[in-house]
Symmetry: C2
Subunit: 125 residues, 2 copies
Amino acid sequence: MRKNYSKQREEIKQAVLEHRTHPTAEEVYGFVKEKDSSASKSTVYRNLHELVAEGVIQKVVLPQGIFIFDGDVSEHSHAVCKKCGAILDIPLALEKAQQAMAAEYGFQMSSYHVLLEGLCKNCTE
Amino acid sequence: MRKNYSKQREEIKQAVLEHRTHPTAEEVYGFVKEKDSSASKSTVYRNLHELVAEGVIQKVVLPQGIFIFDGDVSEHSHAVCKKCGAILDIPLALEKAQQAMAAEYGFQMSSYHVLLEGLCKNCTE
DNA sequence: TATAAAAATGAAAATAATTCCTATTTTTTA
DNA sequence: TAAAAAATAGGAATTATTTTCATTTTTATA
């Protein structure tokens, strides 16, 4: 277990936790640059990867193949607005699916990713 | 509407429809090459893209960001085996989610993507 | 059928996101 | 405080995909 976080590591972690917008690596890099202009991209990518491995943040892929980072590591799903791109966290649980998958397919489901697409509240008003 | 399919276009379509393994673009390229060694990658990518736009096949992204192609365009979900990589089609419908999303978040859900991960039957035996 | 116009192709270059490499800097340890 | 370990910046390398474009193939039509 790592005892201390380096300055950059802490800034990268905070950038993901504070910005609840589900930033991409590039966006995290932008946030970190604001505070420490000497920060490099490789450090951002490396630390994001390590934070994911530690379970501090999670990496989610959007249907277009873009990766976003989420400071909320609890099991939840996402809804992406096709117009503004906003990403909502939704507590959509698929516990029932676990048993159904085992019973019907003999598939031992260990995790799931649900991604909804549509229009968010703002974009339909 | 396109009347006829070119030779390559037809081979590319067939490769996706016949191989129910959910191939990547690279794999489709491999299948097409077997029948027509002169086929190029750009043609495979272009046609896959067009077939998706036409709704003949669909493109799905896996959590690692890899794109796979599916000849079954009906709304269904996928379960990926973490051991062997097998991809199962599963009729997991989220109709209820549609109303719930509208009622709770004002989100007009138009489509969804569900991806389960775990171990398939073969890999647990 | 011959031919002009349109569409599709192959090959290679360009792109974009991410990972890798490495010399240097920073931090930790004792 | 010195040696060892860890982390960094910056750039090169990688990989999957897209774009470009000259050539080939197909289609339409005179």
